[in-house]
Amino acid sequence: MKKPNQRGPVSSASLGALAARAAEALKQQRFKEAVELFKPMIRQDPRPEWKQSLAEAYRGRARALAAKKMFKEAAMVVENTLGSDGTLADPVFYLHCLIRDGQHQKAAAHVRQYVGTESTLPAEERAILEDLAAALLVAVPLGPDPARAPSAEQARWLELAAASREALAAWVAGASAQEVERQLNRISLRSAFRPIRVLLKCLITMPQDADRSRQLLEAIPPGSPFFAFREAVAAAVLAERALDADGWHRLTPVQQAFVAQTRNLPGTAVQFLARSAEAARSGPSALFGFLFKQPDLPQAEVRSACLNLLPQMPDRLSQFEKHFGPLPDFERHRIQALAAEGRGDWAKAERFWRAAVAATSVDDGDDRQAKLSRGVILRHLAQLAAKHPEIEGDGDGFLDDPVISYLERSCQADPDYVAGVLELIGHYRADSRLKDWHRLVDEAVQRFPDNSALLLQATESAMARKAYKKAAGFAHRLLKIDPINSGVRRQMIELQVAHARKQMRAGRLELAAKELAAAAEWERPDVPSALLRIAQALVELRAGQDAQAQERLRAGVALAGSGVAGWFRAALEGELMKLTGSSAGLLRQELARERETPPTKEAVMAIVSALGQSDTGENKRAVASLLLGMRAWLLQAAVIDWLPAEFQALAEILARFDAFDVLAEYARTARRREPGNPIWRFHEIVARTRGNTTRLTMRETEELGRMVDAAVNREDFRAANRIERFLSGGGDAPLRRRRSAAALLDTLDDDDVPELFAAMLEGMPKGATDSVRGLVREFGRDGAVAHMVEQARATPGGPGMPDPVLRELCQAVVAMAMDGSQPRQTPTARRSRL
């Protein structure tokens, strides 16, 4: 900026223009420019408002400089605001700048003007100023003479400062406790110098009364300028309880020096503490080297510290063993495994962890600690396998899920760990390994009969097997342990209501009522069940007990959320019970009336939750017809800003009941709102293809493939699994397993494939050939292959196998059965497989 001409007078016209420019510069926070403009204006016409604006510009400029850590310059700029009374416009800020610049002497002189005087400063600023003033007046050695203070209050401040300095000096000089105490009595407990009295009191009474000292020290708050002193005194006086290695490293070097002197720490100890901290900061190698050269320290501890550093630098392993003796195989493998993890070399990490497990089996056999160690490492491998596809596992079949196989082995090694068993149960369920799920639950519930989490699993498992009496037995046992377990109560109510529905559908009203009475026994009076109320009401309606039924129905609807959500719940129950006539009419009528209210997120999610119950799937047609009536209302909710998790739940339900047009509208609207989120595009594709992958275009397939890769890269395995599941036609195989299979096939040479097939065919059971021949006779060769592909897909390994590979395998089986020959394999055939 060009500086305005400062020599000659400025005309009134140009003065006006300058004022406008200066005001604009100030408004735009161009403080430097504003200062340069205001100065000549004030020289010519010292208007108070311009002077005020200039001071404001100076303050702004000073703050800008302080923001750049130019505290010296900032303080100089603030000095320009010095008034005729000797005060500054911004005294606390000025004090900050001086202290940050290390000008404590000047800061003390500055602050002296403000203490013990009437001030217009806000209370908070005044408190800060007084605290800092007390600390500065104690810290700065050349204190001003109290006799020359302009007021009595200021003189009192200076006297207290002098008393504080003298008390400190007496303690430093080694004066007796009584002498220091005498000095301390000169410091008022109600003054800003109280912390000095507290600190010295603790120092002269230590170590006799640690509790009293702690209590006294707590009076110095963290924001106080004496707080660093308080921390050092606490470390010095509170003995081991406050000063262990951890406490020592929390202290700053200045505090450490104070503590070392006060506790009379030997020089060698201070040196060790300082050098070990420095070495630790320089990295593991420096620390390892430093510790190695400490012959006077306990060597067992030095060994342990160095061993701990080895995973970060496994190349020092031989040096370590040379110095401390050879490590057991288990330790060596453990170090290498951790080192491989540090490098992100997951395959190697897996190899070393497995070697460590093998070593502990050999070395320690049945020792409890060894078993627990094996369990811990195998669980760790399962966790790694869930994240890193490079970890292949050691299952018998190449399609086995490594997460599950490692968890299984972990449970074998440490069968008493309930959390591990529950985790494995969760994986079996997620992977649809129903037989394994039920088997493990049965075993576990016998082993841990009083574990509520396992009893809940046992209840669910029995319900899934339709062993209702068994489920009720487990539920009763669970409620004895955990009487308010709402989960199991809800499940048992749902189970009994499901039975009642069946009886209703069969027209057996009495039996339905009996089931519902049994359901009521599971209900807690303080947690009434909407489902139970509605079901009871519908049975009563059908039995003609209208008055009682209506009342109960409305109570149930209210519990289910009233409005559309509540009446939908009732109408859905009516559909599931196959209610007809006036009762069904009443439900539909009420629902239609409520649909006049626009949808809310809560109402839509309540409907989604109602549709998610197991019975709805078995009565898909009836539910789909009910949902069709909701179409217009649901479409209005497309504009709601859905969270991805909510949308996912919603989309699954809409797809399950073929409401693809509604799903398409929801996905389109969400995509318009947030075009960058691929999940909306995925749902759009699902809706367009009506959930059928054979309707996918090549472009859409590629797009979905890219979405899977992107999801895997950002470690969103849930999204990746979801898309993969859709791509594989809705199978349940998790992403990990398919990736393993694909990765394995990728690693095979063309020549290996026929050999692999041949090996698998040789393992076919006797009689299998005849079955295949029978299929060929019935369906023809291609038809038999298609039939076998379908069957293979239903096997545990099927969903993980890419379609072309399954087809090729089945063709090979047919060829083997019919011609006794192995399939021919061409390089191009293999390339096209994946």
């Binding site: 002193f229 700053t252 060790f272």
Partner: protein, 110 residues
């Protein structure tokens, strides 16, 4: 999180009872209402070590600095609390550090 063995100041071989005893002693000294951050740290460390398998996980899968911490503690135990006085310079530096910390921890007013 820092090494929980070091935070609680217990040995890797400490059992459940010893760990609990140490945790309760620390919480008594640094209760949540007076030292919320320290309490959170002690609580997290206790939760990480409160079970035998968790401790084993920490020892086998983590990198703990307890041995180094023990060496430092041994050095500190050579001290005799309260037997000496600090120098004038050490006190002055401590006061200066406190003053500086107050202004650097707080934003300048205004």
């Amino acid at each position: 999180m820092r090494d929980p063995f070091t935070v609680l100041g217990v040995d890797e071989a400490a059992d459940d009872a010893e760990i609990r005893r140490r945790y309760l002693a620390l919480v008594r000294d640094f209760p949540p209402d007076r030292a919320p951050e320290r309490f959170r740290e002690y609580r997290a460390a206790y939760e990480a070590l409160s079970d035998e398998r968790k401790r084993l996980e920490m020892t086998l899968l983590g990198t703990n600095t307890i041995a180094l911490s023990r060496l430092c503690t041994a050095a500190l135990l050579a001290a005799s609390p309260g037997s000496s006085r600090a120098s004038k310079q050490a006190v002055a530096a401590l006061l200066a550090e406190g003053i500086m910390r107050t202004v650097t921890d707080k934003r300048p007013p205004g």
